[in-house]
């Protein structure tokens, strides 16, 4: 599903660099990236999504070498193949809950907004308990409700790959569990691949695999291999 080979990335002339000789995430896997801040977890998510490109190496998702695609194709790839959930939710304040959920369909011609999609958005909202708040704007929602809207937005396109960056980082324990239940129920039912960055070790038991970036920084680089990842950070 996700295959990384000989990846090397650095931000400008800074000290930070990320080296991953090889990493593979299989279809339907639920994988958590853990490790200290600045170890490259979010960077790796961005590389997998094609938001940024590596200096060298390959990032291949579902048979597509994302790292070699031009910008327009990487955008098309993201909007059709990847669902993204952010720690700060990143909802648009000027859109209603329903319009926020439908947002991907208004951003690219690869997706077509029709009544079926609208019905699916309503159905998702009902499933996560925000069906009665579809006309509200995000500022009139609780933190937990906002993240549920963000999850609905990420899964509306039915993406085969779901990337979440600290999805429960801003939530209280009750909302954290609820959002995770929603995410994992969805992933299980739709056999979606989930890759999540988290600092919250209490939720690691929910993931099938955990990759601890800390283990690979003793040499100054994050060298990740499937064998090392298993249960590394638990």
């Amino acid at each position: 599903m996700v295959r990384i080979e000989g990846l090397r990335f650095r931000y400008g002339e800074g000290d930070f660099h990320l080296d991953i000789p090889e990493l593979q995430v299989e279809d339907g896997d639920t994988t958590a990236f853990i490790g200290p801040s600045g170890s490259g977890k979010t960077t790796l998510l961005n590389l997998i999504a094609g938001i940024i490109r590596p200096e060298t190496g390959r990032v291949e998702t579902r048979g597509v070498e994302v790292s070699s695609l031009p910008d327009a194709d990487r955008r098309r790839f993201r909007i059709t193949t990847v669902g993204l959930v952010f720690q700060e939710f990143e909802l648009l304040e000027y859109l209603s809950v329903l319009d926020n959920i439908l947002l991907p369909y208004r951003l690219h011609s690869a997706l077509s907004l029709d009544s079926e999609v609208r019905e699916r958005a309503r159905s998702l909202a009902e499933r996560v308990g925000i069906a009665d708040k579809l006309d509200r704007h995000p500022r009139r929602l609780s933190q937990g409700e906002r993240q549920r809207v963000a999850v609905c937005r990420a899964v509306l396109t039915d993406p085969p790959l779901l990337l979440t960056d600290e999805p429960t980082g801003n939530l209280d324990p009750v909302n954290r569990e609820r959002v995770l239940d929603i995410l994992f129920d969805y992933v299980r039912e739709s056999r979606t691949t989930l890759v999540s960055v988290t600092h919250d070790h209490e939720i690691l038991s929910r993931f099938g695999r955990v990759v601890d970036f800390r283990d690979f920084h003793s040499t100054g680089v994050a060298e990740v291999s499937p064998g090392d990842e298993e249960g590394g950070g638990a």
Partner: protein, 390 residues
């Protein structure tokens, strides 16, 4: 369409900011253009009535004051000439002359003392009633009748020039005998009376009890042969009626009675030139061509207009700079939103549309509103200008 929907939602959510920006852009565009349109229209209007008034004669004084008083019945009364001036013009045979005495008011409406020739000169026609035929009768312009709330059969009373003017202007009660058609000119605001009626208002003519009659004995100060001298108890009439009209009389030589202007209407260029030549060296009188006076006035207005437009443009540029600063800050504030849309996978065109929609929509709405205002100014500017210069 989907991105335009997002743009619309953004503008709607930030509607107060959007409205302020649109208003600013509208003013920036409209002020210089609208001002230009208004000045052009006022130029045309001022010139049109001036061109329809060939020559105006009066005592030496301000030609502008004279022209504005004669054409628009402004309250600034020019230096007075006499009725003799009108007679002299008639006697030259170079031009028919219409006397004008525009000094008094009925509340805010000017009383225009003139002759019946004025109505045909301006092409004014009656909508109701009849023309004035005897001393003391008034014919009203349509707006004057409306504002005073009177029509044929009602009365109007001349107003004192000052509340302290106890012994001054005669408060004459005048029957309204006719109302003119709307002419869309200064004539609509006027209360027209015969010039002699205006003199009665001034106190140059009056009517009172016949002192030879026994019932007026209390008003007799002394009798000296056929001469009867009245005292302060003599009752003066403040309305001219069929019963007392014969008692109205003028003291002195009518030719020496005041006029504010005489409108002369030479039939051709030659007569006009000859008539103007007669006043060229006069120390007491002047003859003015209202068109020339208006042209000079317009030159002054145009000079002022340039400063006003320069000011408007300067303010406009400053406002424009502020507007673009607001746009720039807005784009900066939306950087995170832009990043989110990019990460989700929004196309470059879609994100560009969403981000620039605010600027494009505000500029478009501002320019369209300015064009609408300009159109309205062109359509209704005449009415505004007439209201301003009345």
């Amino acid at each position: 369409m989907d991105t335009l929907y997002l743009a619309w939602r953004y503008l709607r959510f930030h509607r107060i900011k959007t409205a302020i920006l649109v208003a600013a852009i509208t003013l920036i565009v409209f002020l210089p253009i609208g001002l230009r349109v208004l000045v052009d229209q006022s130029s045309r209007q001022l010139t049109a009535r001036a061109e329809a008034t060939p020559l105006v004669v009066s005592a030496k004084g301000s030609p502008t004051e004279l022209t504005l008083n004669t054409l628009y019945f402004s309250s600034d009364v020019p230096a007075r000439t006499t009725y003799r001036a009108a007679s002299e013009i008639q006697e030259t045979g170079l031009a028919p002359a219409i006397p004008m005495y525009v000094r008094f008011r009925v509340r805010d409406q000017p009383i225009v003392g003139t002759t019946l020739e004025y109505f045909s000169f301006r092409g004014l026609e009656l909508a109701q009633g009849r023309q004035m035929t005897v001393l003391g009768e008034a014919v009203l312009g349509s707006r004057a009748a409306e504002r005073l709330g009177v029509g044929p059969g009602d009365h109007v009373i001349s107003s004192p020039e000052s509340v302290f003017d106890i012994a001054g202007v005669y408060p004459l009660r005048m029957p309204v005998v006719g109302v003119l058609n709307f002419s869309d000119s200064a004539d609509d605001d006027a209360v027209f009376v015969d010039v002699k009626t205006a003199w009665v208002i001034e106190g140059l003519g009056h009517g009172h009890q016949d002192l030879s009659q026994p019932e007026a004995a209390a008003g007799v100060l002394r009798r000296d042969g056929n001469v009867v001298v009245g005292n302060a108890a003599v009752m003066q009439f403040n309305e001219i009626t069929p019963d007392n009209i014969d008692s109205f009389h003028f003291h002195g030589d009518l030719s020496g009675f005041p006029l504010t202007a005489v409108v002369a209407m030479p039939p051709d260029q030659r007569s006009s030139a000859l008539l103007q030549g007669r006043y060229q060296d006069s120390e007491l009188s002047q003859i003015v061509d209202p068109s020339e006076v208006m042209d000079e006035l317009l030159d002054t207005i145009l000079a002022v207009e340039k400063f006003v437009i320069a000011g408007a443009v300067t303010v406009g540029l400053a406002t424009l700079a502020t507007a673009f600063l607001v746009f720039a800050l807005s784009l900066r504030l939306r950087r995170r939103e832009r990043e989110t849309l990019f990460k989700i996978g929004g196309s470059r065109a879609a994100i560009g549309t969403v981000m620039t929609s605010e600027i494009v929509a505000v500029l478009t709405a501002g320019v369209l509103l300015a064009l609408l205002l300009t159109f309205l100014t062109q359509t209704y500017g005449d009415v505004i200008i007439r209201a301003l210069i009345r």
